[in-house]
């Protein structure tokens, strides 16, 4: 499935509905379906807020691909390039508004990384495996890019 829509927060509910459908179809339990919808909602919200400074008339695309062992989400935009090192989820001791989106993405996805070879704006790839792998590489560097 692929969706190319405006960077308008009023369309986020559509993003969540579509993700919920494909996550359910892929066989994820309801709790994971909620988490995946939320993670993609957060990633799309960040595109709107950070890559496009809340411009509602730009575009981004979202692709969902199901595989036997995983589901993959690819979000592409044509906005300002993210400096992956700038994306640092806030420390949880820090009670302030903000910094939660990337933290939720990291919680809900097994992998999340920006494609440094992408020539447009940003290409964020997120992966969720059917039975969540818990390995040291997951907990560490590969997630910190998300």
């Amino acid at each position: 499935m692929k969706l190319v829509i405006n960077t308008d927060p009023r369309l986020l509910h559509i993003v969540r509905s579509v993700i919920r459908y494909y996550a359910q179809e892929a066989g994820f339990p309801e709790a994971d379906v909620d988490c995946l919808a939320m993670a993609i909602n957060e990633a799309a919200s960040n595109v709107i807020r950070h890559a496009y400074d809340n411009r509602p008339d730009a575009r981004f695309s979202l692709e969902v691909k199901s595989f036997p062992d995983r589901i993959e989400f690819v979000l592409e935009d044509d906005g300002r390039k993210v400096k992956p090192e700038a994306i640092r989820p806030r420390s949880l001791d820090d009670v302030r508004p903000g910094g939660l989106g990337t933290y939720f993405i990291r919680c809900f996805m097994d992998e999340s990384s920006y494609d440094s070879t992408f020539t447009g704006g940003n290409r964020l790839r997120m992966v969720k495996y059917f039975s969540r792998r818990v390995s040291s590489s997951d907990e560490g560097s590969s997630q910190e890019r998300g």
């Binding site: 509910h13 969540r16 919200s45 009670v95 508004p97 903000g98 939660l100 939720f104």
Partner: protein, 119 residues
């Protein structure tokens, strides 16, 4: 999402329903900050009807919490569904908010809740 304010004695109850996301959280933010700035002594957010809340909704509640310290407003939440509660727990924010089970408990306890010093 819908946001409506009711006054119950000296408590402002903000009834929210639907999805709180980047689009709708601006409504909640406006209402919440306005109630606090207008000098209401007690503000409660009724989350009974909230089926979804994302980081922008949580950020809005945290902003309310911060403002409540400045304005000396007692601020609490009630009626959280399990997914809203999970999201707050995941963000480790469930302990910084005064969270009540339902409206009755919230109305009884809000006036005697310690103002928050956790920030």
């Amino acid at each position: 999402m819908k946001v409506q304010v009711r006054n119950v004695d000296n408590v402002s109850v903000i009834d929210c329903s639907g999805d709180v996301d980047l689009y709708s959280s601006t409504d909640l933010r406006g209402t919440l900050l306005k109630e606090m700035r207008s000098g209401k002594p007690n503000v409660l957010v009724n989350m009974t009807g909230v089926s979804y809340i994302d980081s922008s909704g949580i950020a809005t509640l945290v902003e309310g919490l911060q403002l409540s310290r400045e304005t000396k407003t007692r601020f609490g939440l009630f009626g959280l569904r399990s997914n809203a509660r999970s999201v707050l727990e995941l963000a480790r924010l469930h302990t910084v908010f005064a969270i009540f089970d339902n409206e009755k408990e919230a109305l009884e306890k809000i006036a005697t809740t310690e103002p928050f010093g956790g920030l």
